[in-house]
């Protein structure tokens, strides 16, 4: 059976948008790790070289992160990671990436598979909640996180640093 053209188009659009959002999620994580002590405190506890993969679905776009010298860097090569989040389908991952589903809710609803130590995943969840707080406007964030942390710098500064990558 062939996939309908409509489904194919929607799929390709979602793949494209997911790739863009994952890129900004990486930049956001990297910047917020520098700006926000709570995130820095979390990542400081990760072992050097700790790797994380967020995969939108099997064969879908993915983001590979690594802790290196207390910074978050992006990896290009596929490899076995210490912690892997693999969504069951792209549509669910898309909900999360477009600010319509929080990471905690996604976990509770079994929306993704989690490979690795669940205790370590709790630290990543706290980081992603804060990163989302910086990246999404408040009216969206209030639906995504249980508690909105006060921002150390205005969102606009974060956006500029994310865009210009510094």
């Amino acid at each position: 059976m062939k996939v309908s053209i409509k489904r194919k188009m929607i799929w390709q659009i979602k793949v494209l948008i997911s790739k863009i959002v994952l890129f900004f999620l990486y930049r956001g994580f990297k910047v917020v790790n520098k700006l926000e002590p709570k995130v820095y405190k979390e990542t400081a506890n990760w072992k050097e070289g700790y790797t994380i993969k967020i995969q939108t679905c099997i064969n879908g776009p993915s983001l590979l992160l690594k802790k290196k010298d207390n910074c978050i860097i992006k990896l290009k090569q596929e490899q076995n990671c210490d912690l892997e989040i693999i969504f069951k389908n792209l549509d669910t991952a898309f909900l999360l990436l477009t600010g319509r589903l929080g990471i905690a809710k996604a976990y509770c609803e079994h929306r993704f598979l989690l490979k690795g130590n669940i205790m370590e995943a709790m630290s990543l969840v706290r980081c992603l909640d804060i990163v989302e707080t910086y990246l999404f406007p408040k009216f969206i964030v209030k639906h995504l996180v249980k508690k909105i942390e006060p921002l150390k710098v205005p969102r606009v500064i974060t956006y500029l640093r994310v865009i210009f990558n510094y």
């Binding site: 509770c108 079994h110 598979l113 989690l114 669940i118 249980k146």
Partner: protein, 395 residues
């Protein structure tokens, strides 16, 4: 109300009733198995519980216990699981029977996972829903406490003492094939253990009903469990030889297990696990101490959910006479009242001092609790400071 999305699964066959352990051979035959490995602990061997199972199996000629291991420690241990895997293969066993509480059942789940996945490095299996359907190993569980609900849950926690690491495995493929609930299996449970395991089951039901992934199916199990526990726990403590009461409590524990296996548990369990890890507080005691304080902490978010639960704690008339905005608080009051009664009749601890927790350990307990997998399911955020405050209240 139907949530936007939920998942629910319980594939375990449940056999409940007096003498249901005599069905073990028949159940094994359904799976074409006749050579089980029996797993239990030393206490159950000593008090004769294991011999009841042996009798039930050997009365039937078609099944022979090929190997027996009754040295499972209070916390399931990776080294023991590796030893059991060797034993299983050496004796050509074809199925597993677990007789015991949470640690025995978790050990058996770990063994089954290792054999069925044909994986030597258990670390590769750690996580949430990453197991694939492997080789089917028939697995029968006979719980001897009415609290953990492990006989119907998709979770196994295994300790790697060598690396000082608690490994958590969550998968629908961890669900046993058959759970046998026989009242004679819990008859020997002492008063205090009956009280604390019963409150553990109550907490499973309350947290499953009120946490972030509750759904109408798990709610039905959770509320039935609460009703059964409220009606039977005092009787079970005071009159442990009453088979009807024991059967109702065992069923309540099983139903709470089904509820939380699908809806998960929250902050009470996150803190209780940590109290166990840092101060070696028995799990049921830790849950009993923390339950009302965490309910108070969650009240502003969960007022409506707790209010709904009041009808299972008081009479219909009393429920109607309680003002709507007071019902959530009243539920907590009723939980406290129940705990106080159990404190009087069974010595159930009600604060952290009762279980010798040192005040200087509270920070460490909170630090571990925030990384527990259960914390993410709690509808109200809780950081290290919040947990320290809750612990101080419970001190």
């Amino acid at each position: 109300m139907i949530p936007n999305y939920y998942e629910f699964q319980n594939t375990t066959k449940i056999i409940s009733g007096e003498f249901s352990i005599n069905n073990i051979p028949a159940e094994l035959r359904f799976f074409n198995s006749n050579s089980p490995l029996l797993i239990s602990d030393e206490i159950l061997k000593k008090i004769g519980t294991v011999s009841k199972i042996e009798d039930a199996i050997h009365t039937d000629d078609s099944v022979t216990i090929k190997a027996e291991f009754t040295e499972v420690p209070p916390d399931s241990d990776l080294a023991i699981i590796n030893k059991l895997a060797k034993l299983y293969k050496e004796h050509n066993c074809d199925s597993i029977i677990a007789v015991g509480g949470g640690s025995v059942i978790d050990t058996a789940k770990g063994l089954r996972m290792l054999i069925s996945q044909d994986e030597e490095d258990i670390n590769k299996l750690m996580g949430n829903e990453i197991l694939k359907y492997g080789k089917h190993i028939p697995f029968i569980v006979i719980p001897t406490t009415a609290g953990t609900g492990s006989e119907v849950t998709l979770v196994a926690v295994i300790e790697d003492k060598f690396r000082n690491l608690k490994m958590e495995f969550i998968s629908y493929f961890l669900l046993p094939d058959v759970a046998i609930i026989d009242p004679q299996m819990t008859m020997t449970l002492p008063k205090k253990a009956t009280a604390s395991t019963g409150i553990d089951a109550l907490c499973h039901a309350i947290e499953a009903y009120s946490c972030m992934q509750n759904n109408p199916i798990s709610d039905a199990y959770a509320t039935t469990a609460i009703k059964l526990i409220k009606e039977n726990i005092e009787d079970a403590v005071q009159n442990g030889s009453n088979k009807k009461v024991r059967l109702e409590m065992a069923n309540a524990s099983l139903m709470a297990g089904i509820a939380f296996s699908n809806s998960m548990v929250g902050l009470v369990h996150a803190i209780a696990h940590s109290l166990g890890a840092v101060c070696h507080v028995p799990h049921g005691d830790a849950v009993a101490i923390m339950l009302p304080y965490v309910m108070e902490y969650n009240l502003d978010i969960l007022d409506n959910k707790y209010a709904e639960l009041l009808s299972y704690f008081v009479s219909a008339e009393d429920y109607m006479n309680t003002q709507k905005e007071q019902r959530g608080k009243r539920t907590i009051k009723e939980v406290k009242r129940l705990l106080m009664k159990l404190n009087k009749i069974a010595g159930l601890p009600i604060n952290l001092r009762d279980v010798n927790v040192k005040e200087e350990n509270l920070t460490k307990i909170a630090q571990i609790a925030i990384n527990d997998g259960a914390i993410i399911v709690n509808p109200k955020a809780a950081d290290e400071k919040d947990i320290i405050e809750i612990l101080k209240m419970a001190y």
